[in-house]
Each structure stands twice: as C-alpha cells, then as structure tokens.
Amino acid sequence: MKPFKPVLLEAVGVPDGHTIASYKSRGGYAPLEKVLAEKQPADVVEMVKSSGLRGRGGAGFSTGLKWTFLPKDHPGPIYLCVNADESEPGTFNNRILMEDDPHQVIEGIILSSYATRASTAYIYLRYEYPRSWHRLQGAIDEAYAAGYLGKNIRGSNFSLDIYLHRGAAAYICGEETGLIESLEGKRAWPRIKPPFPAIEGLFRKPTVVNNVETMACVAQIARRGVEWFKSIGVPADPNNPRDPGSYGPKLYCLSGHVEKPGCYEAPLGITARELIDGFGGGVWKGRKAKAVIPGGISMGLMTESELDTPLDFAGPGKVGCLGLGTAAVVVIDDHTSIVDFLHNSCRFFAHESCGQCTPCREGTSWSLRMLERIKAGKGRLKDLDILLEIGQTMGMMPGSTICGLADGAAWPIKNAIKKFRGEFEDYIRRTNPSGWMVTDPVPALQIVGAH
C-alpha cells in the first residue's frame, strides 16, 4: 500500500481547522476567487466533467454529466440541494467533513452553484448532527462576512445564499426526491422518475442534488486541478466502454469489529483487506472476519475470501454486492451470528421504509417478522426460500418499487442467505428440531418487544 497524504481530511487534527482563517491558510477560497474572475459557469462544468468525479452519495453518477442535464438558458431559479442526510448505517464521513472542515464543503457548494447557475443552495442536514449544524452555520456566517456569499460575490454578478435545513430522523430523506419532498414540507415520499430533479425538482424548478463529500471533491479539483484528480484511483477499463473509471481520493468509513474504527482517506480502489489491516489495525481481538459490508448496509456482504476486492465503483459488484455505496466498511467477526446480522438489517429497513410501495412496505416488514420467528426458534428451512423470493422481487431493479431503498433492503437478504446458507440451515435445524422441515403456512408472529 503506497502512502497517501490526506487531502479531503487535511484539516483533521489541525487546531481551529474549521475556521475561515485556517482554511484560507491552506489555500482555500483562492480557487473560487480565480474561477469567479476568469471562468464561465460552463468552464466549471467542463472541469468537473473531465475530472471524472462520480457522486459520493451512493449511486456514483458522474457529477459533471448530471449538471449538464439542467435546461439551458433557464430563467431560474435553479436550486442546489446538498445532501447531508447521511443515514446509511456505517457511514459518517460527511459528519467529519462538516465538523472539521466546513469551509471546504462551502467552497465546493459555491463553485457548484456557480457552475449550475443556482442562486439558492439548501443543505439538508440530518437532525442527529447538532455539531455539524453549529459548525456549518458558523462557517456560513464567516463566508458571508468575507464576501463569498450573498449578492454580487466579489463583483462577479453571481449571487448565492446557502441555507441550512434540518431533517427529522428519517433515512428516506437521503433519497434525492424524498429529500426534495421533505424540504417542501411534506412527507418524504420519493417521486417517480422521470422527471428527474434536473428538469423538475425542488419547488418544481430545475434542481441538482449532490452529496457533501462530492462538494468537497469539487473544491479540491478547483484547487489542485483535473490532472491531479485523475492521477488518483482506478482508470476506466479500456475494454469496457461503459466504465467511467473511479478517480480521486475517497473517504472510507471503517467500523464494527476492527481495532481502530475511523474515517480514512485513500485512493479509490484500495481493497477491503488493505483498509482493515493497514488502517484499522486488523479485526479486533485477533479474530477473523466472517463477513464485511463493503459500502453501507444496503450493499450486502462480502465473505472473508472476497476481501481482496478493490473498493472502487466497479469492485463490490463483481462479488455479488450491490455496489460501492457510501464506502462504509463494516467488519463482522467470526464470533457473530449471521442470523443476528440479518435480523438487524431487516429491522432497519422495516423501520425506514416510507411505506408508499407495497412490495417494499410489506416485503421489509414480512422479512423482519420471519427473522424474528427464526430467532425465536420457530424457523423452517422453507423460510429461507421465501426470504430469497422477497429479496428477488422488491426493488427498482426488478421494477416493483419507486426508489432504491427496497433494493438496499433486498441485498443483505440475498447475499446473507446465498453466501451463508449453511449457517442459517444449521441454526434453524438446531433451534427448531421438531419443525424445521414444515412447509405449511404458519401464522405470523407478533413483533417481539424489547422485553
């Protein structure tokens, strides 16, 4: 593993690194001044497009390309929504960026707003980040005072306001159209697409939704250049014209059963094993990994033998996972029951389904009730097939739901049962010696309370 000097995390550990003075001393806001003085919005779009930057929020869509979907010559307003809802289990890099280097995020937002001609940017911040709230508001105030926000910024004729908008503890507000509905004051029911937000988004106006880390990358591309960004990561596969490559540094969140949980910056494409051993100090207590989540719980599971998979945008898919997701790596040691893991996952998605699509609403709660039943010693082998059937039929991919939450609920089910079927079967046989083979329908079990 080649040593890599953190860029996105350069302010971590720097005294008062969150202040504008510190940010400017590290080279911040000079790129913005240069862009406003010398470049047109289209130049900034082109810069981000040619950098190969792909969104860091989970889907990995090309950021520059997304911006070009906005209508040309629109009279406005155009909105930028910065997605700071960060609620994918295992993920916390946006929090660290907002707390330790909020100006990096804000400079990225100003540059992105200039590129997209947005005049208002809303940061949709999850409620559970009070520290981020204070740090961001402090930084926004400093940026206004320094003339980087407000009317006619640096005499450029470009005006921008940034507002913080606080969520209320719902995972679905991270889905971009759920976020938009929530911002509009409604229940966060994701919208059917198309129309995509670029055409009809917030308040029915053209809108771009981008993740916090994506914004930080934009600031660094403006500071260090396209060539610098493209020199990091995994180049596009020349044999696959549809692979746009995985360029740039990435913030990997490492948690679960590791010695040193934390947020680590590395070039895209580091393997899970390098991350766990090189940064995380190995699996805790000298144990072995049983399974590893590659990018937030929605992405499914890798087995120990799959840990040499590179964590770039294409890697996890090659071992049957949903994708890179948020690059949140969660280690599960060999003392942990995979049944417990899947129960935890199903509980999360049953709780967080917004309820508007029947396959997701029913599929997530049914799978939770089945896992409750299995854990209560009443599982049958047939339940595993039913769970797989639920996993294969709910989601945008099979075409039965409006948003990707259901795909994220399905993936841990499919991966866990396919990759650890033997453990599930042993558990069911052992805990339900008289009923494991039954195939008749069984009455549903009441959800078991905490006591």
């Binding site: 289990p89 999850r126 409620y127 908008h165 209320a168 503890a169 308040f203 417990d340 999360f348 709780h351």
Partner: protein
C-alpha cells in the same frame, strides 16, 4: 367569546417568520416550525399543529400529515428534559448497542420510547447516528456519548444537559 389561550408564543411565531424569506412558499416552513415549537415545548400537541397551520396558511391536516410521517415529534406529552437516542444499527449492535438499550431501559424502569415519571429522561432506540467510529453511542440532547458501556451510559444519563436546539 373568550379566545382560547395560544400555544405558540409570539416569540415562536417570530422565529418562524424570520425563516420565511428563505423559501419561495410557506409550506416549506413546516419542518422548521415543528422544530421551533418542539425545541420549546418538547412535544407538538395537536393544538399547536392547528396554530402552525394557521400561521403557514395550510390545512391542519397537511401539517399533521408531515408530523406523523417523521415519528420524531411527540404529540401526547413532552419528552424528557434529556432525550437520549440509543443507536441500535449494525455497527453499534456489533459492539453491544442492543444490550446498552436494554440495560438503560431496565435501569430507569421504562420501556423504549418511554419517559421517566419525573420527566427528566426519555430513552429512544435510534437508527445509525452517523457516529459508528464511536460505537456503541448515544445522542443525548446535543451531546454525543461515545464508546459507551452500560455503566458509563447510566451515569451519563443522570446528568442534566443543555436543551436540544
């Protein structure tokens, strides 16, 4: 006719109005308004929902619909002066999150989502708090309690804390 006492204070209404220029319509003020009321009253009773709707020019049902979707705003009675969200998602669960929740509820003699009889503390299970590097963790008002053991958490939750904003 004597008008009913108002639940929304002039100050709360002023805070809501101060945010109005940020949005092109008043419906977008719904969540901010609910937060402003909740920060003061620690719950948002139905009467407050009706008054918020009046201030925003909405049907009460529209505000109530949004409120109930989030399951974040208590409606029947105020949550405790300290509201503790105990994470139960995967990274915390792997390091004892479920046990932590059970221990705290038992120690304080309440069910999850319950409030102690003296109104000091509410304990609520939460999904990933975005602090998995400090698992298992608790968000108590504005304070993140990191790497909690059951004993440490029990002691922490007995302390008074600044009210959540």
């Amino acid at each position: 006719m004597i008008s009913k006492p108002k639940i929304l204070s002039d100050e709360m209404v002023a805070k809501i109005e101060a945010l109005a220029p940020r949005y092109p319509n008043r419906r977008a003020l719904t969540l901010p308004a609910l937060h402003i009321v909740n920060a003061e009253l620690r719950h948002v009773p139905l009467e407050a929902v009706v008054e918020i709707a009046e201030v925003l020019g909405l049907a009460p049902a529209e505000v109530q619909d949004t409120l109930t979707f989030y399951q974040f705003f208590h409606q029947e009675k105020p949550h405790g002066k300290v509201r503790a969200f105990v994470c139960r998602s995967v990274s915390c669960a792997l390091r004892g999150g479920d046990h932590l929740l059970e221990h705290l509820c038992h120690a304080h003699g309440i069910q999850p989502y319950g409030t102690t009889p003296d109104g000091e503390l509410t304990i609520e299970p939460a999904e990933c708090l975005g602090a998995c590097d400090f698992a298992p963790c608790i968000l108590a008002n504005d304070d993140l309690l990191e790497n909690m053991t059951p004993e440490a958490a029990e002691a922490e939750l007995k302390k008074p804390r600044a009210r959540a904003t």
